[in-house]
Amino acid sequence: MPDPILELDGVGKHFGGVVVLQDVSFHVARGARHALIGPNGAGKTTLFNVISGVFPPDEGTVKLNGRDLAGVPSRRRIAMGMARSFQNIRLMPHLSVVENVMLGQHARQGLLGQLKPVGLLPQARERRAALDLLDAFGLDAYPGQVVANLPYGIRKKIEVVRALMAEPELLLLDEPAAGLNPTETAALRDFLMEVSARGVTLLVVEHDMPFVNSLCEHVTVMNFGRLIYDGTAAGVREDEAVLEAYLGHRRKGATNAA
């Protein structure tokens, strides 16, 4: 694969005696819309946590832009071009929408930038940038509101915008469509297409197969902590191992994996 942005090589992770990830290797191409799917407990979120540095892998390497991330603390990875969202929305409940989004700038601000009284300057560059980004994704209706009071679908999008504020090259999204209704899911798909059009590489953990098929061109499938398929979105429906993982046994002629 030419010019991968993210390279996983032989990644393994166990908690006590339970092996959660075993010899996981795949690449994510720059600019791709890449899905990571698999049944519950396949180790997808654990893999995300390893990639974003919440905990280190027990074996193997993770490389971002060709640079080994071993020993790089999680808080430094956002400045290296990697941002993520969470399975359960993790916005700061007591901050307003625009403040949450401005938090995405944190990694790019120097010490002097940290001390600028942005909250007292309505026209501050930092605030304008956050408002513009919200505006660009149609979220300009409630910048001053505390996020705890907003609808679920809106908060999901705000979380993605917050990650985008960090100007990442690679965006990790953990089940972005979970809990959304079909209309919201369609809106989210269009939203992520726009994000992708800005040149951001997407790695998406998702259960919703129609959503994955409509968004991603490359799919990686995991089961029981192992990689069982890595290829095109079209090919996944024909793959024997994937069918077995999802349906429990081989069924000749089955065409719909999920």
Binding site: M92, P93, L95, H106, R127
Partner: protein
């Protein structure tokens, strides 16, 4: 200004500064139940620097503030190893040790206290209070203040957003120590003496209550909390014991009515919106 009024304003100012010192760490998610210890460091620091080393009033107050900050910085490392209730009680233990050391030291006057040779007037306290209020409002408006509130809300996510949680927490402790130390130094110079009995466990509890009941979400909280609980008892004009009893009832009632503090984000937003319709998108 009558002597009584000026006395109330001076106490109010000292309490407001004290409360901001505790607020700074609370805003970053750490409850400090050792306020009396940090205040004692400021008060005794100012007293010793003035009495033993002959520093002038403002030099001694500034130096006591720096000492408070340094000790806050140093104690942050062991205290931040603990979490939750353990941390609250570690700060409490720290204050008990500080006060215990003073009590056992003849150099620091032991249980007799120290008598200052200089005084400051209410006016000086008013200026210091305004300075601290402006500083904390400025701090909370910066990305640094935003990071502190992020650490308060969700440490793991703040970390992934690039916030150095440990640095923010240590900075908050150092800053809190400095501001609390300042309140202690002002106390020493205003009352003209320091006595260790004043810096008891109840004082630590009270100042934390000012902050929690005022609200930790905005910089208005400590101002309102300290103001409310300094002025209400004065207004009630009762015996000392009755004041504390009513204070207790108010605390219980306040937690039932406004558990997140008197001043919350929502309340500030609503007031702003009423004052200026355009401020909502700011």
């Amino acid at each position: 200004m009558s002597g009584y009024l000026s006395g109330v304003i001076a106490i109010l100012g000292i309490n407001v500064i004290f409360a901001y010192g505790i607020f700074v760490t609370a805003a970053a998610g750490q409850l400090n139940l050792g306020g009396a210890g940090f205040q004692a460091i400021g008060a005794y620091g100012a007293a010793i620097l003035s009495l033993e080393f002959g520093l002038g009033i403002w030099a001694a107050i500034a130096a006591a503030t720096v000492i408070g900050g340094l000790i806050g910085f140093l104690i942050a490392f062991p205290i931040l190893r603990t979490r939750g209730v353990y941390m609250v009680l570690a700060t409490f233990a720290f204050a008990q040790v500080v006060v215990g050391i003073v009590l056992n030291s003849n150099y620091l006057g032991g249980s007799m206290g120290l008598i200052m040779s200089d005084y400051i007037e209410t006016g000086a306290i008013i200026w210091a209070t305004l300075g601290v209020i402006l500083f904390v409002f400025y701090l909370m408006s910066t990305p640094m203040g935003l990071a502190m509130r992020a650490v308060h809300d969700d440490e793991p996510v703040a970390d992934l957003m690039g916030v150095n949680n440990r640095a923010v927490q240590v900075a908050a402790f150092a800053l809190g120590g400095a501001i609390t130390g300042l309140s202690g130094a002002l106390y020493a110079y205003y009352f003209g003496f320091v006595e260790v009995q004043y810096f008891n466990a109840l004082l630590s509890i009270f100042v934390l209550l000012y902050v929690l009941i005022g609200g930790t979400q905005t910089a208005w909280g400590p101002l309102v909390g300290a103001g409310f609980f300094t002025l209400i008892p004065e207004a009630l004009r009762m015996g000392e014991d009755w004041r504390f009893l009513i204070f207790g009832v108010l605390i219980v009632a306040m937690m039932i009515l406004r558990p997140e503090g008197i001043v919350t984000r929502d309340a500030v937003d609503r007031i702003r919106a009423r004052l200026s319709p355009r401020a909502r998108d700011a």
